[in-house]
């Protein structure tokens, strides 16, 4: 809709926007995406804080509030701040990371199924971590995190190379990824059965994706790396959107496809590797979050920020569910909750794709 007078003609982008303009800065802010992102982050934080009271030693909401603000009994403060708060932070941060990783890969492969958990990158990270734990026997945070990153990157490059044949096709990439992750999965199973039964139960529980063991000792370096990953993702986000247009169009827009794709690949693998190092492979959040966020924000492509918010909300919700389950029944790792719910979503997605 162009107005009759006034130099800037108004363009209908298909969604409500607000333009912010100063002398040296100008940005168009999509209102709906922004609102939904903020709401989702608030929801994630709310759920995570709400889950602080649930556990073997239940606390009421006022007790949690008092402990968080530095009041209340010393024991309550220990429980809430030292034991449960790192888990709550982990749930939100890891969920957001998974969402970002999923959005990056779904955008790179231009396929809603091309998320790192389907293509088997977290299986690679997990194999490297299990090898480090059981064979090398070193359990420090840095060795595990670097093993996880290395394993994830190796798997990513292997999958890309194997799927490469005059370009990487979405579906070929996915089937190659399925093959690689099936292979790694059986290697993992083998390693686990060779361990002591105690180790095996631990690694098995952790291997299903569990955040309950997260402590501040492990969270602090994870948060630092997460901040770096977030910075890298922010810097690369414009290139990602240009790459969605296809390489030729991206070049005309000023992107350099080769380096940009490499950077995005490393950043995307880093997100899952970080989560896998701290909590084990948490499946299907990366797959589901960008797509749900896209539906909610009604944007044509996946957005990094909204995917992050949706990932955080999803993982926080799954965490709450697993906590409630562990109170009324038995402890259930959060990764199982996400796999079961996310897998059902994947099936629905496939049916929809097939119908089209």
């Amino acid at each position: 809709m162009a107005r009759s007078e006034g130099p800037p003609p108004r363009v209908d982008f298909g969604y409500a926007t607000r333009t912010v303009r100063t002398r040296s800065f100008s940005a168009r802010i999509p209102l709906r995406s922004l609102t939904i992102t903020v709401l989702l982050f608030a929801l994630a934080a709310g759920v995570a804080v709400g889950a602080l009271g649930i556990g073997d030693y239940p606390l009421t909401v006022p007790e949690v509030g008092a402990a968080l603000t530095g009041g209340g009994e010393a024991f309550h403060r220990t429980i809430v701040v030292a034991w449960r708060l790192p888990v709550a932070v982990a749930v939100v941060v890891f969920g957001a990371l998974l969402g970002v990783g999923g959005a990056i890969f779904q955008s790179l492969t231009r396929n809603p199924l091309g998320s790192p958990d389907v293509i088997g990158f977290d299986a690679g990270s997990y194999t490297a971590v299990v090898l480090t734990l059981l064979v090398v026997g070193s359990g420090g945070y840095w060795s595990i995190a670097s093993a996880s990153l290395l394993g994830g990157l190796t798997t990513a490059f292997a999958v890309y190379l194997l799927a490469y044949r005059r370009g990487v096709q979405g579906f070929r990439l996915i089937v190659v990824g399925i093959g690689v992750s099936a292979m790694l999965g059986s290697v993992n199973a083998f390693l686990i059965t060779r361990a002591d039964i105690d180790d095996a139960m631990t690694v098995g529980f952790w291997g299903a994706g569990s955040v309950t063991r997260v402590t501040w000792d492990g969270m602090t370096p994870a948060l630092v790396i997460a901040a770096l990953v977030a910075l890298a993702a922010t810097a690369l986000a414009p290139s990602l959107r240009r790459l969605e247009l296809g390489d030729d169009a991206a070049v005309t827009q000023g992107a350099r496809p080769g380096p940009a794709r490499l950077g995005l690949l490393v950043t995307g693998v880093a997100t899952t590797a970080l989560v896998t190092a701290a909590a084990g492979p948490i499946g299907f959040v990366a797959l589901v979050a960008p797509q749900l966020a896209r539906r909610l924000t009604r944007t044509p492509g996946v957005g990094l920020l909204s995917a992050a918010a949706m990932g955080a909300a999803l993982l926080a919700g799954a965490h709450l569910l697993s906590l409630v389950l562990s109170q009324v029944y038995r402890p259930v790792p959060v990764g199982l909750v996400t796999v079961c719910l996310g897998g059902l979503y994947l099936i629905r997605l496939l049916v929809r794709e097939a119908r089209r």
């Binding site: 096709q169 089937v175 059986s186 499946g283 796999v339 496939l350």
Partner: protein, 367 residues
């Protein structure tokens, strides 16, 4: 996209094979003639005749405690309670018999499911059929407290049947035949969900964890002969059904319309095919917990030798898969001595590259 258009896949292999009459003008029976094809079949059968006894002998002789052929021979015939006799009869004979049976079942199930779905990437493991059987067995152990093969088998059948039908429904939700990749993804998704639920059940209950932990890996070492006998009738029925179905499946490769115009009852063939897959994959999974990729690899290799005729493919897949399983089992015993690697892990490590090679290939070998 690497998918093979079904019609092209149906006739691609035949076109290459027969020199004389146009393959499309003679849909059924597929070309018998051609020295090339006859030679391939002869070589294939001869290879199987050599390979199966060799693999069986290797499976009897090699392991943590290697025996010479002499010892195996005397152990087999002179049951005097000596060490070799004990090893052969209590350890190696059962696992060899189980390996042959289970391999044959998975191989035939794979050939059958590839023909039914006209999908070169189909395999009972990839399509989630084994996961369905495994989930149902875990459910039975966890909730109903089942023990022993008699209970496992029925659970496995129910799970395998439901999973087969579900995957087929999901994959064919759209118009027209299910696309290979959609079917594979549907199977993987279903498998992930079912395995997730199984893991959930095993983690919440230590008893279930203990009984299912080693079973789920795909080992043929811990299966007793009694259990095998309990499952044998079902496997035999499945194999018989598969062989009977191989003729109509040849016509089905041309597409449903053409097949029904040739007098094939399409729906009945499909239903019976699913029953056969259920019996074979469900029964074999109940025994071993599922061996990945056996059903994927074997029919493709067999097709190199015998061509696109389903009767040959299905019949030869059984002994060929038995050879593969025995070889994988022996390999698993040798690489990790004095311990051993479960056969399911070996087949997964060997089979995944095959899947990758298939999806890389421009045109998978014709169905």
């Amino acid at each position: 996209m690497t998918r093979v258009p079904p019609e092209a896949a149906g006739t691609a292999g035949a076109g290459r094979a027969s020199p004389a009459p146009g393959p499309s003008s003679r849909p059924e029976p597929p070309p018998r003639g051609g020295r090339h094809r006859a030679l391939g079949r002869t070589v294939g059968v001869l290879l199987l005749l050599v390979a199966l006894p060799s693999a069986g002998t290797a499976s009897l002789a090699w392991g943590t405690n290697p025996l010479t052929l002499d010892q195996v021979w005397w152990g087999l015939w002179r049951r005097d309670g000596a060490e070799a006799d004990l090893i052969v009869w209590t350890l190696r004979v059962p696992r060899t018999v189980v390996g042959v049976l289970v391999g044959a079942a998975f191989g035939m199930a794979g050939a059958l499911i590839q023909a039914l779905t006209r999908n070169p990437l189909a395999d009972p493991g990839i399509l989630g059929v084994n996961a369905g059987a495994g989930f149902a067995v875990t459910l039975g152990v966890g909730l109903l407290g089942l023990t022993g093969m008699g209970g496992y088998v029925w659970c496995a059948f129910a799970g395998a049947a439901v999973a087969t039908v579900l995957v087929y429904l999901i994959g064919s939700a759209g118009r027209g035949p299910a696309r290979p990749v959609t079917l594979v993804l549907a199977g993987v998704a279903l498998g992930a969900v079912l395995t997730g639920f199984s893991t959930f059940l095993t983690l919440i209950d230590e008893h279930t964890f203990r009984s299912v932990r080693t079973w789920g890996l795909g080992s043929i070492a811990r299966v007793s002969l009694d259990d095998t006998l309990a499952v044998l009738p079902f496997l035999a029925t499945g194999m018989l059904l598969a062989l009977l179905l191989s003729r109509p499946l040849n016509s089905l490769a041309l597409g449903d319309d053409l097949a029904s115009s040739l007098g094939v009852r399409v729906v009945r063939t499909r239903v019976l095919g699913i029953v056969a897959v259920t019996l074979l994959a469900g029964g074999a999974t109940a025994l071993t917990g599922g061996l990945a990729f056996v059903g994927l690899m074997v029919p493709h290799v067999v097709r190199w030798f015998v061509g696109p005729d389903q009767r040959w493919i299905i019949a030869c897949s059984a002994p060929a898969a038995a050879v593969l399983v025995l070889a994988a089992d022996v390999l698993g015993r040798l690489v990790a001595r004095p311990s051993e690697v479960e056969v399911g892990i070996v087949t997964a490590v060997v089979g995944a590259p095959v899947l990758i090679a298939l999806v890389r290939a421009r045109r998978a070998s014709g169905l």
